[in-house]
């Protein structure tokens, strides 16, 4: 993706820092600078999510993009965080373990690397809680 782009959102990836609209009380992860409900009237502040949630839907990736191929088969899920927001993330567990409703918690892992000489990208994945 490019060094500046990875760097710009690293704090959000590492620490599950999203945003919250103080005007309507909605939580956003990935972070949104503009609240879709309040738009310009929304007062957006940073918010750090607790990191706990549950699986809403999941799949097992067997064929992946080149950089992720070494991880296959792996579980990708839409996770509903306790605050109500949903996000997409890898769940690290045996592939016969995930189920809809499974409680998960966040962990810090390497997301990808730009080849042998490029940048290492870190972020948040989930494990069964």
């Amino acid at each position: 993706m490019g060094v500046p782009r990875y760097w710009r959102k690293q704090k959000n990836r590492y620490n599950l820092i999203g945003t919250m609209c103080k005007t309507c009380g909605s939580y956003y992860f990935p972070p949104r600078e503009l609240c879709p409900k309040c738009r310009r009237d929304g007062e957006i502040v940073e918010y750090q999510f607790k990191g706990t949630g549950k699986i809403v839907t999941y799949t097992i990736i067997r064929t992946a993009a080149k950089e992720y191929d070494y991880l296959t088969p792996y579980v990708v899920a839409i996770i509903e965080l306790d605050e109500g927001t949903r996000m997409t993330a890898q769940v690290i567990c045996d592939i016969d373990k995930p189920y809809i409703g499974m409680p998960v918690k966040s962990v810090f892992r390497k997301i990808t690397e730009e080849g042998k000489t490029g940048m290492l990208v870190y972020g948040t994945k989930f494990v069964p809680a």
Partner: protein, 350 residues
Amino acid sequence: MVGIITYGAYLPRYRIKTEEIARVWGANGADISRGLGVFEKSVPDLDEDTITISVEAARAALARRDLDPAEIGAIYVGSESHPYAVKPTSVTVGEAIGATPVMTAADLEFACKAGTAGVQAGMGLVKSGMVKYALAIGSDTAQGAPGDALEYTASAGGGAILVGEEDPIAEINHTLSFSSDTPDFWRREGQEYPSHGGRFSGEPGYFKHVVGASKMMLEAMGTRPSDYDYAIFHQPNAKFPRNASKSLGFSAEQINPGLMVPYLGNTYSGAVPVGLSAVLDVAKPGERIFVTSYGSGAGSDSFDITVTDVIDSDIFDRSAAPTVADLLADKKYLDYALYAKHKGKIVMPE
């Protein structure tokens, strides 16, 4: 008095048995296990490395105590497997625990004692009043050359020690070191695997420094081994720390609570920090801990530590993070092929 404010450890879930490694090289696994006193070792997941392990250990430490990470004024990560040769692990840890940007940081290398060297550096910054808290982490995803003796023990894991003066859970009564230029084990820049001096790593390496530093500490404190409840020594295998501790006068009961290597392997820079974490998981107020690390090259750092009441108080919650016993128990075995894949030992196409 400077002491330990909180601590934490992280071990990856995967394991490989000594017997499985021996099977591949046509060696007798049972003999090797017995000889080394190591039955299995930890293996990092495909997306784990020294940076991720350091972050998890640091977060475990912070989970146990309510403090403002912005007040961490220094972070030192000691390892011999930093993912970048140039770009420090310590700043990624800082970012991942909310300690940046007001802090100093650097990565350290001194083979297996880089973590404890970081504790000493942190102690100096705290004692001098330059920082309120200093975080020292020792962590590694150690690499043993295929077919080499070290392949049976080189494992992955890390421990984090936060040093400060305000209400420590354990006071560090004293620290000292014994260092020399000794080529017992090294890795040249650009090389994948380390080299070692074989049996030379024993007497002129490990034993000279561990025993040297330990004797100096006992003398400096005017103590005898029996004055301590626990003794933690660097553990490249189970044999060396058992022999060293015995020759100094420590008993098996004293070293066993901090002896993780039989089912963990040698986590290199993580070895003593993880051993210390394991002891702090069970230590009671008033108990005294003797620590001597060892890093090839070579040197040993010794510490004399007394546990305080704070460890059982309501400002510290040991149960808020997994204990080393919990981490050891959560495991999944790999065969050698998957182990090689996890450790990047398979030559992949570009």
